[in-house]
């Protein structure tokens, strides 16, 4: 694929790779930062309506999803630790668990969105059209922010699947596991963003 692969490999620089990953995560935070600013502005503008609309969300499912994502972060770390200690099997198991939990999150998310849609709460939906402007904005932000987050979960799953292949082929091993660590960092970011989304939409009444 590249003309100077021998060059790339003969100075492996894990610290540098991690630095690049952190910088990338920083840009992801700012990407969501734009949305958080919007949330803040509109929350100040439509405080009452935001209170009202937030009650429509399903707190039980939101909490369940939070627990699922937090657990997936744990299994992610365990997968990295396992490979660093030389246990490929265990590492694969934990990585598969992480992917499984991510998919569970997506399924629950789909049920939540589905329920909203069936009640006519979606952009352009008849129920939403009867609500006040502030509530429309709340649900607009809800769909956009959790939607973008869900997209990140899916990207995360794809990344983790690649990591799985690398693990199985031995490209990620006890000595060289920086890619798994970088993938893990991305996964933690996905988790972290949800940790902020959850209170903003589900808990603040």
């Amino acid at each position: 694929m590249n003309t100077n692969s021998q060059l790339v490999t003969h100075h492996r620089d894990d610290f540098g790779s991690k630095m690049g990953m952190w910088l990338f995560l920083f840009t992801e935070l700012i990407l969501f930062g734009g949305l958080f600013i919007m949330y803040m502005v509109y929350r100040v503008e439509y405080t009452e309506e935001f209170h009202l609309a937030a009650k429509e969300l399903n707190l039980a499912l939101g909490t369940l999803n939070t627990m699922i994502l937090l657990t997936s972060s744990l299994t992610m770390v365990l997968s990295i630790v396992a490979i660093q200690r030389g246990s490929k099997k265990l590492s694969v198991f934990y990585l598969l668990s992480t992917i499984g939990l991510a998919l569970a999150f997506m399924v629950i998310k789909a049920f939540e969105w589905g329920a909203k849609f069936s009640h006519g709460i979606y952009p352009g939906g008849e129920a939403l059209a009867n609500l006040s402007n502030g509530e429309v904005i709340f649900f607009g932000l809800y769909f956009v922010m959790t939607g973008l987050h869900a997209l990140h979960v899916l990207i995360g799953v794809v990344i983790l699947l690649f990591m799985l292949i690398f693990l199985l082929r031995g490209k990620i091993n006890q000595e060289n596991n920086i890619r798994l660590e970088a993938g893990g960092l991305y996964w933690h970011l996905v988790d972290l963003i949800w940790i902020f989304l959850f209170p903003l939409f589900y808990l603040l009444h």
Partner: protein, 546 residues
């Protein structure tokens, strides 16, 4: 100026990688090849942008319709903006010259993430293709202006989604380049290359990298939101549903003002390379220039509100933004004074790159100072959205970054292509370019001050003469461009072989053959002196590279 080394070492052009022919270029992870890929694609887009600009000026030659209809005019100024900003001047110096020279200037073999670097170029090309394809899709070419202001960008029937997607992808490419450069500067410096021995172009690229990382994601999300808005009508920017269009403007300028510094900082870095080389003197105030790059990068992220003085904003916000705008002018002025001070008692050799720098200092200073007129609230109200603004940013962007892009091209041409160009013709081209530039854009200051609004298809009779003068200026400018590119093209074909160090410079990119070998150096560079310590020239530079 020995040439023997250059011929004994295989250059990166001759290096045979895995792939041959065109694939050896578009699949190469060699930073030098990627830099050249960027350079060629950018010059291509630039010429398209120039063509569109010439058409606009031709339309303004007479009142009423001259060669096109109003809707075409709207599309053309939008495209001119999108192409020049997103495809030429933002990637501009970092992607072309930064890619080629950053690793060499710090004594490295490549950037930290070579494959990511190639991905950046592919994203760039994808974005460019999207932008062009969008012209032929349903709805026709986008007509919102390059700023995509809502609610018009949500309601217009032209093709908006694809150009927005193009801008998003280009932003992603820019972010990846920024990440790559920052990590490279931190991790890949040669032995002895401390931060304060870095060439100032590297400092500028480093600061630029940070703006790319901090600013670009904000426009990313803003663009995504406009796309979502068009597809689903969520209402976040739609006043009819409770959304706030002003919020779009804020988010847009949070990126797009710092983007101005993404454009100008690398140019300032190039100026800081060219002046010491041709004055053969240590740069005056090395640290002041290095830190002023960082200062511009960080204060520059806080001044976006000055684009919105007339959009509806509290008085407090207005004077705060105005004050910050004045503050960000200080580090820029620090640089200008340092450059001029470097020349004092230097032994100046007049050459094409240096001539570009001279033109730059004058044009950029005019552009910068008129920026302050726009940045103060009272005068802004009068000249907002007039040709005054158009003139201002063309002085900064074209007279500033554009001229230095050409200056950099002339400065590094021997190194990149291993050929020398005709200096006299190049100098003549600089002269013609400058005259054409002033005729075209200085006239716009007057037009704007007298009340000619920007983006208008037609104008009142009293503006007729000035518009004709400006249009003639655009022809002179194009003549200069053709002469300059023609000269370089001839040099590419028939130029004399370039020595390793034609300008007698001290920075590392000249301490290797022209063009450089695949691994950049045939020795391991060790750095003992600063990049501009010309008093140590004889000790620092090996004989074969003098």
């Amino acid at each position: 100026m020995s040439n023997s080394v250059a011929t004994s070492v295989k250059s990166f052009y001759e290096y045979q990688g895995k792939h041959k022919g065109i694939l050896g270029w578009i699949l190469s992870t060699d930073h030098k090849r990627i830099g050249l890929l960027y350079l060629w694609s950018m010059i291509g887009f630039f010429l398209v942008g120039v063509g569109l600009g010439v058409l606009m000026r031709l339309e303004m030659l007479t009142m009423g319709p001259t060669i096109m209809q109003p809707q075409t005019y709207n599309a053309i100024f939008t495209l001119h903006g999108i192409i020049m900003i997103f495809l030429f001047i933002i990637p501009g110096l970092p992607a072309a010259f930064g890619n080629f020279f950053l690793p060499i200037m710090i004594g490295a073999e490549d950037v930290q993430f070579p494959r990511l670097n190639l991905l950046s170029w592919w994203l760039y090309i994808t974005g460019g293709i999207f932008a062009i394809v969008s012209l032929f899709l349903s709805g026709g070419p986008i007509d919102t202006g390059w700023t995509f202001y809502v609610p018009y960008s949500i309601r217009t029937s032209t093709q908006v989604i694809l150009p927005l997607l193009a801008a998003f992808i280009l932003g992603f490419s820019s972010i990846l380049t920024g990440i790559n450069f920052i990590t490279t500067v931190h991790r890949m410096r040669a032995k002895g290359m401390t931060f304060f021995k870095l060439p100032l172009f590297v400092w500028a690229l480093y600061a630029t990298g940070w703006i790319q990382i901090i600013g670009t994601p904000v426009i990313g999300i803003t663009i995504l939101l406009v796309i979502v808005e068009r597809l689903f009508g969520v209402g976040l920017f739609d006043p009819a549903l409770g959304g706030d269009p002003i919020l779009f403007q804020h988010l847009f300028w949070i990126y797009s003002h710092p983007a101005v510094y993404i454009m100008i900082l690398p140019a300032m870095g190039v100026v800081s390379e060219i002046i010491p080389t041709f004055a053969r003197k240590h740069i005056f105030g090395y640290k002041a220039i290095a830190f002023s790059s960082l200062a511009i990068a960080f204060i520059g992220t806080l001044v976006w509100g000055h684009h919105m003085f007339t959009s509806g904003m509290s008085d407090t916000a207005r004077w705060v933004y105005s004050l910050l705008t004045y503050i960000v002018a200080l580090p820029s002025a620090v640089k200008v004074f340092n450059w001029v001070a470097t020349m004092y008692k230097g032994s100046i050799r007049m050459s094409a790159p240096f001539a570009f720098v001279m033109a730059f200092i004058v044009l950029f200073s005019i552009g910068g100072l008129t920026g302050l007129i726009l940045g103060s609230v009272a005068t802004n109200i009068h000249v907002h959205d007039t040709y005054f603004v158009v003139a201002h940013f063309h002085f900064v962007m074209f007279g500033g970054t554009g001229f230095i892009f050409f200056g950099a091209l002339h400065y590094w041409f021997p190194k990149m292509f291993g050929k020398m160009y005709n200096e006299k013709i190049a100098l003549t081209a600089v002269g013609i370019l400058t005259i054409g530039f002033l005729m075209l854009y200085f006239t716009m200051f007057i037009l704007g001050y007298e009340g000619m609004p920007r983006r208008y298809y037609d104008y009142l009779p009293q503006f007729q003469n000035l518009h004709i003068f400006a249009t003639v200026g655009s022809w002179v400018l194009v003549t200069g461009l053709l002469l300059m590119f023609g000269n370089l093209f001839v040099a590419l074909k028939k130029g004399a072989p370039a020595p390793a160090n034609p300008w007698g410079s001290m920075t590392l990119e000249w301490q290797t053959s022209s063009p450089p070998p695949f691994e950049n150096f045939n020795y391991h560079p060790e750095i003992k002196y600063g990049p501009y310590d010309y008093e140590h020239y004889d000790e620092a530079v090996k004989d074969e590279y003098k």
